[in-house]
């Protein structure tokens, strides 16, 4: 029996994906669990495994086409099994798994060319190409050509209705530059007359961050990027679904800063590594979660799942938006491992080369604005997690110690929790113990 290979739900954040590479050709044998294609979604790439063993008889979605998740991308048949007629089509007869109860192609309704050759679906080649390029479901198009043949303008009409094309107006030089730099024209905001995309717009897009650093001009309107849309949806989902409560505490940082100074040469000498305050923070938080497993919980329906691994996510700010790669099993990982992991993840986050797993595995998040002149802030939970720690700047403060005025370096940390599953006392306990751990580094980081 044939198996439909779908673009899997690549996690909560992902709505669409693009196949970057097919590891197998049509006709190749495949084993269940064997990676068969590489998909890119939301700046991460991941391998997708074959759902069954058999023969990859039909690839429906070619490399480079972006399709919604759950789209059927290929068909695996058992050896000797004949491919069902409905898949004997050229191009993307897109169908999502949800709607695949209805065959996407119903030959009876489909206008056919006079020849009636299988695969020739009464579509002019230009229309077919365009439909393929934009992922148009051909079964939804009624042709206006002779004998109902689908013409290019029919496809364009559908695209225009979905405002996928015709909004892309660009100068010849802008088009050429896009082709040369392999930039999709669709993603560029045109600033010319009536929104025409000019060369300068493509250059600004290519320059990326430098262009955004200046900020968009006042009074301008721009479409949300995919990553921005995901952030927007997730943040409002979190803010409106999870009742947040916030707790703040001041952490005396001198002992940790001093501890770090002492161990720096050792790390440098033995491992050629330089631990940052964040690395100690990650470790301390992970150890504290081990003591308070509720902070590793996720609410799923009516059940509270205490996640088996303590994976600490670190919010990394990028021009396009925030991304949160997580260090796995940080409670059990040594500092050296944490430093290496953290440095690698942050670097790859900035290059957009994280895997999906790396950003999906987090069970608790740390968000630091310590480099800014921000005393403290409240953070929104990164769903489905139920705890997030916010870190402000470190200040020097005058304090009385045994009647003596002393200078202490103080950092304010904030904890946001999901009040549906974590009560104030648990959160307060967690934060207080974290404070103790950070203020007593020798005890906390005894086993390196």
């Amino acid at each position: 029996m044939a198996t439909e290979v779908v673009l899997p739900a690549l996690g909560l954040t992902v709505e669409k994906g693009k196949i970057l590479e097919w590891y197998k050709k049509e006709g190749d044998p495949v084993q269940k669990g064997e990676p068969i294609f590489l998909v890119e979604a939301d700046k991460v790439t991941t391998d997708v495994e074959s759902p069954s063993s058999g023969v990859l008889s039909k690839i429906l979605i070619p490399v480079g086409v972006e399709v919604p998740i759950l789209t059927v991308v290929a068909i695996i048949t058992e050896p000797g099994e004949k491919l069902a007629a409905k898949w004997m089509v050229e191009g993307p007869a897109f169908s999502t798994a949800e709607t695949s109860a209805e065959p996407p192609v119903s030959p009876g309704e489909r206008p056919r060319a006079k020849t009636g050759v299988p695969g020739d679906r009464g579509i002019v080649p230009a229309a077919r190409r365009k439909a393929k390029e934009y992922g148009v479901d051909l079964s939804q198009i009624s042709g206006t050509g002779p004998d109902g043949v689908i013409l290019l303008k029919d496809v364009e009409r559908v695209l225009a209705a979905e405002s996928k094309i015709s909004v892309v107006k660009a100068s010849t030089l802008a088009r050429k530059l896009c082709e040369k730099e392999e930039v999709p024209l669709k993603e560029i905001l045109g600033t010319g007359i009536r929104g025409r995309i000019m060369q300068a717009d493509v250059k600004a897009y290519l320059e990326g961050p430098t262009a955004t650093a200046a900020g968009p001009p006042l009074g301008s309107t721009m479409p949300m990027s995919t990553i921005r849309r995901v952030i927007a949806r997730r943040m409002s989902e979190s803010a409106f679904n999870a009742p947040h409560i916030y707790f703040f505490s001041e952490v005396w940082l001198d002992p940790l800063l001093q501890f770090r100074e002492e161990v720096l040469p050792v790390f440098d000498k033995h491992f050629n590594l330089r631990p940052s305050i964040n690395d100690f923070l990650i470790k301390a938080v992970a150890l504290n979660i081990a003591d308070f497993p509720m902070l590793n919980a996720q609410l799923k329906g009516e059940e509270i799942h205490i996640m088996p691994e303590i994976n600490i996510g670190l919010a990394v700010a990028m021009p396009e938006g925030l991304i949160v790669p997580a260090i796995p099993c940080a409670d059990r990982a040594g500092l050296v491992e944490i430093i290496r992991h953290r440095a690698d993840l942050v670097a790859r986050a900035k290059e957009g080369k994280l895997t999906l797993q790396e950003i999906e595995r987090g069970t608790f998040t740390i968000s630091s604005l310590a480099q800014y002149d921000i005393t403290h802030f409240t953070a929104i939970l990164n769903p489905p997690q139920s705890g997030i720690l916010s870190v402000g700047k470190t200040d020097e403060k005058l304090v009385l110690v045994e009647g003596q005025v002393r200078v202490k370096r103080i950092t304010r940390v904030g904890l946001s929790v999901d009040h549906r599953i974590i009560d104030g006392t648990t959160a307060a306990d967690f934060l207080q113990h974290l404070k103790w751990k950070l203020e007593h580094p020798a005890f906390t980081f005894m086993s390196l």
């Binding site: 100068s171 010849t172 030089l173 802008a174 050429k176 530059l177 040369k180 010319g192 025409r196 000019m198 060369q199 001009p217 006042l218 009074g219």
Partner: protein, 463 residues
């Protein structure tokens, strides 16, 4: 209180006034002379009137089919009168437009006292002070003369006088082989004067493409204009109703020339009357007023546009800057691309050009490919019986970007408009060839040059 005061009602000032009024600003426009400034009164329009007249004369005289053409001549007085009528029509039209837009026009000398403070001295000596939010300085430029020359208006003239001639000099000597010099040379040569040009640089119209310069020089020499390059004028004396000029030639030897009149066309200098640069602390880019990309001076709320800020001294640049400055004042940032400002010459042949010359493009390290088409191969040019000219396209060989377009020949100044439009819209050279051109017209020559650029020329012998 007015929102916007503009000093100078030339091509920059009046456009700014209309745009300001259209956006609901209360506008005060101060002009010491006539609306329309240099372009309308002492520049573009008068020159084009004369050029038109002398071209008709020349066409008639050269016509192989017309009878009695050798007896045709121009009545100078009528030529000047026609020009005055054209100018008057345009100036009156402008006055109506100002009135229609509710622009308050005051005739007098405008003075910038301080940012937001302007004084007007009218011709009858009355003074009034005005407070405004924004001031645009659009005072323009005037003929500049070398220090050793004194313009007497008769023996030694500038364009101000030469465009209002009472008679025709038998021998005219023009100092300066730039656009103005070439245009005046064309007018006077075709009227019948013997014309000599003394140019300080190594070529005439120095900022044009080398091939255009060469073609122009050849054409002028063919038509009897004498051109002395690298000629340094040392002394100009008036003796016995004649002008005597001493100049140093290319070899450093002093030579003498005699003429009935000298026309000084050595460039134009900014008009700063009413603008006390030092007292105001106005930033300068000597000798011009310094502005940034938004045409802001260093004084708050004070802008400057047109000839007074330097750059190309042409009316359409000033008008474009007027549009941009208003957009910036109104908070819709707009910049001007200097490389897209066309250059026009109405000389013995017309020149229309925009963008980089071949030499400039190469110097900038661009991968240059050139496409050309000669007028001689154009049916339209043949039918018009004027086959002197060509179109030259300088394109980026890889991207097809039109880096520059240069035309010399009949209607070059009209034809260049198409190139400017397409370059502004960022068309590639191939786009120039893509459009279907009406036949038989000179517009086909650009298309053919574009085809040549792509190596698929039709109307030319295979290389």
């Amino acid at each position: 209180m007015d929102d916007l005061c503009i000093i100078g009602a030339g091509s920059g000032g009046y456009v700014a006034a209309i745009r300001g009024a259209q956006h609901g600003l209360r506008v005060l426009l101060i002009e010491k002379d006539q609306l329309g400034g240099t372009c309308l009164n002492r520049g573009c329009i008068p020159t084009k009137c004369f050029i038109h007249d002398v071209k008709i004369l020349t066409a008639a005289k050269r016509s192989p089919v017309m009878k009695g053409a050798d007896r045709v001549s121009i009545d100078i007085d009528k030529m000047v009168l026609r020009k005055r009528q054209v100018v008057k029509t345009m100036v009156d039209g402008l006055a109506m437009i100002m009135k229609g837009h509710g622009v308050r026009v005051v005739q007098g000398q405008g003075e910038l006292l301080a940012p937001g403070q302007v004084r007007v001295r009218t011709m009858d000596g009355r003074r009034s002070e005005e407070s405004v939010k924004y001031v645009i300085l659009a005072t323009g430029a005037k003929p500049g003369t070398p220090p050793f020359l004194s313009v007497d208006g008769h023996f030694v003239q500038t364009t101000d006088e030469a465009l209002d001639p009472k008679d025709l000099p038998a021998k005219l000597l023009i100092i300066g082989g730039g656009v103005i010099g070439l245009e005046m040379a064309a007018i006077y040569r075709l009227l019948g004067s013997e014309v000599t040009i003394l140019e300080l640089l190594s070529d005439i119209i120095y900022n044009e493409d080398a091939e255009i310069r060469k073609a122009m020089r050849m054409l002028m020499e063919q038509q009897g204009v004498k051109i002395h390059l690298e000629a340094k004028v040392k002394e100009v004396k008036i003796r016995e109703e004649k002008v005597e000029i001493d100049y140093e030639n290319q070899k450093g030897q002093v030579e003498k020339l005699q003429a009935d009149r000298v026309l000084v066309a050595t460039g134009r200098i900014p008009v700063l009357e009413g603008i006390d640069v030092q007292k105001l602390g106005l930033g300068m880019n000597e000798p011009f007023i310094k502005v940034n990309g938004k045409f802001e001076t260093n004084l708050p709320g004070v802008y400057a546009i047109g000839d007074v800020v330097g750059g190309m001294m042409v009316a359409h640049k000033a008008s474009a800057e007027a549009e941009a400055v208003l957009a910036n004042i109104l908070g819709q940032p707009k910049r001007i691309k200097p490389e897209l400002i066309p250059r026009c010459i109405w000389g013995l042949a017309e020149v229309g050009s925009v963008g980089l010359t071949e030499e400039e493009a190469k110097a900038k390290g661009r991968r240059v490919k050139v496409g050309k088409f000669p007028y001689i191969s154009s049916g339209a040019a043949q039918a018009m019986d004027d086959i002197n000219g060509f179109v030259k396209i300088v394109g980026d060989s890889e991207s097809g970007e039109i880096l520059g377009l240069h035309i010399i020949g009949q209607h070059a100044t009209d034809l260049i408009g198409e190139a400017v439009t397409l370059m502004t819209m960022e068309a590639a050279v191939e786009d120039l060839a893509e459009a279907i051109k009406p036949h038989p017209t000179l517009s086909e020559t650009i298309m053919e040059a574009a085809l040549d650029w792509s190596g698929i020329l039709i109307h030319k012998l295979k290389k």
